[in-house]
């Protein structure tokens, strides 16, 4: 990138954000609303959350829940998906069930989660686990199934079979697609944690949104929490995007590497 392009890459979004904040401020002033907060009120709200120590604690709680649920989905989903992709018979048996469960919104599982785990961390983690499991499982399964026969044959030609073939050929060949699934799953997990925390627990950013509204209609805190959720979601996505730029997997992301 030329210095000029680099400057533009920072400057243009900054200008757009500034315009948006100005519009927001003007809209609040012109309409004279006393429900929706102004940008300044939200900034004060954020400062208040930081002072009380809630900002860090709630962010940490949400991230820990996502980490646990997503981590569990990853540990189970990747091996299970690889197994299903590797054994066509198993995939044929399991696929109808997977395709049936997959379109069910994780939010529909909330009552089930509460029956199973009560109003607790475990409920939220279970919901995040469910929400992330299917994208990861299906990506791993399709990734393995889609490995060109040529790679498989080449691996066998060099004397590999069983787990050696799996770990040295099939897994690396499927990795870009698995990473794409991991990225989608992380986005969904971050959306679901907010919903789960509104219902199933008493901390976290989702809880902050619902609690601020219920306890005295503090819309400055509601919007502050929303902004936090957005910023952290953005950071999580940037983080996982970094992983897909590693040289050993970049070949699989040709369409994005413009």
């Amino acid at each position: 990138m030329t210095p000029r392009r680099r400057l533009e890459a920072i400057l243009l979004p900054a200008v757009a954000a500034a315009v948006l904040i100005a519009l927001w401020h003007t809209a609040v002033k012109v309409t004279g609303t006393n429900v929706f907060p102004s940008p300044a009120a939200v900034a004060r709200g954020l400062a208040e959350l930081a002072r009380k120590g809630l900002l860090l604690r709630y962010t940490r709680d949400s991230l820990l829940r996502v980490g646990a649920g997503y981590g569990l989905a990853l540990l189970i989903g990747i091996p299970a998906g690889i197994f299903l992709g590797w054994r066509p018979g198993a995939a044929r048996a399991a696929n109808p069930v997977i395709q049936l469960l997959r379109p069910i919104s994780p939010l529909a599982w909330i009552p089930v989660a509460i029956v199973l785990f009560g109003v607790s961390d475990a409920s939220a983690i279970f919901l995040i686990f469910l929400a992330s499991l299917f994208p990861i499982l299906v990506a791993a399964m399709n990734g393995v199934r889609g490995v060109p026969a040529m790679y498989r044959d080449a691996g066998r030609n060099f004397g590999l079979s069983g787990t050696a073939l799996l770990s040295r050929v099939i897994f690396p060949a499927a990795l870009p697609e698995i990473l794409a699934g991991l990225r989608i799953a992380l986005g969904i997990a971050w959306i679901v944690v907010v919903a789960a925390e509104m219902i199933a627990v008493n901390s976290g950013l989702g809880y902050l949104v619902i609690d601020s509204r219920n306890a005295g209609k503090r819309y400055d805190l509601v919007v502050a929490a929303m902004l936090l959720i957005g910023v952290i979601g953005l950071l999580l996505n940037l983080l996982i995007e970094r992983v897909s730029r590693l040289r050993a997997v970049r070949w699989g992301f040709r369409e994005e590497s413009a």
């Binding site: 044959d153 066998r156 040709r254």
Partner: protein, 258 residues
């Protein structure tokens, strides 16, 4: 129509007897019929036929990736029952592993060797195929011709006695293809391998082979075996070269005019 296979001087390496192949997809497709062929050690044999005639199927059977419907393939007097690192199949350039560097690809079949020996061999074959300076490059950073060299080097590194090449230069531009033919001949002379080379390119077969096995359209049979009695390097405007080439053109029933 079908003359007996040429009695080949030298030790017989590969022996194909009464080979037949029928695929059952929706209806039966007879692909290979009555294939008898002997290839002697160190010989360079081209299998020439129109696209889709079944010559690749023949190569896949000989390499052990497919089981024939009838007949047998013996290498060193031993029935072929599956792929084997002593006989390496070279695909078009897409067979290189995109998740490994040039070094990683060339060393792929050398896992059992001690580290020093492995590195020595990788270095040797990097030089042999002229890829010095690209050891740490990934395939997507290389041109088609370079990828093809990587695949040939990966095959040679495990020191096989037989190489199977399935239209290896088909995807390359015509200049690179000519260069690669020269390289292959140089390597063949240096490494003394038996080579079975499938192509649909008449010129290519006459430039490379000791004998050209001309196949019919599907179901493929051996139409004729043409010995190319010219020493290397071959003069592509020599009268004998043109005679042999035009003989095969006629054999296939193509008027050599456009």
């Amino acid at each position: 129509m079908i003359p007996a296979p040429e009695p080949a001087p030298g030790r017989t390496k590969l022996e194909i007897r009464g080979l037949e192949m029928t695929f059952r997809v929706e209806h039966e497709v007879r692909v290979l019929e009555d294939i008898d062929l002997d290839v002697r050690e160190g010989e360079f044999v081209c299998i020439l036929g129109p696209s889709g005639c079944g010559k690749s199927t023949l190569l896949n059977i000989v390499a052990g990736f497919l089981a024939p419907t009838a007949g047998s393939v013996k290498i060193n007097g031993e029935e072929v029952r599956g792929p084997d690192p002593r006989r390496i199949f070279v695909f078009q350039e897409r067979g290189v592993f995109p998740w490994l560097t040039v070094e990683g690809n060339i060393g792929f079949g050398l896992g059992r060797l001690p580290r020093g020996e492995r590195e020595r061999r990788i270095a040797h074959y990097v030089v042999l195929v002229g890829l010095q300076g690209f050891e740490k490059s990934y395939p997507q950073e290389l041109s088609g011709g370079m990828k093809q060299r990587v695949e040939v080097a990966r095959a040679l590194a495990v020191d096989p006695d037989v190489l199977f090449l399935d239209e290896p230069f088909g995807a390359l531009d015509s200049i690179t293809r000519l260069v690669m033919r020269g390289e292959l001949l140089r390597i063949w002379r240096a490494e003394q391998k038996t080579i079975l080379f499938v192509t649909h390119d008449i010129e290519e077969s006459v430039q490379l082979a000791d004998r050209v096995v001309v196949m019919t359209a599907r179901p493929a049979r051996i139409r004729r075996i043409v010995p190319i009695d010219m020493p290397h390097p071959r003069d592509l405007s020599a009268r004998r070269y043109l005679e042999l080439r035009d003989g095969i053109f006629e054999e296939i029933g193509l008027a050599h005019k456009i």
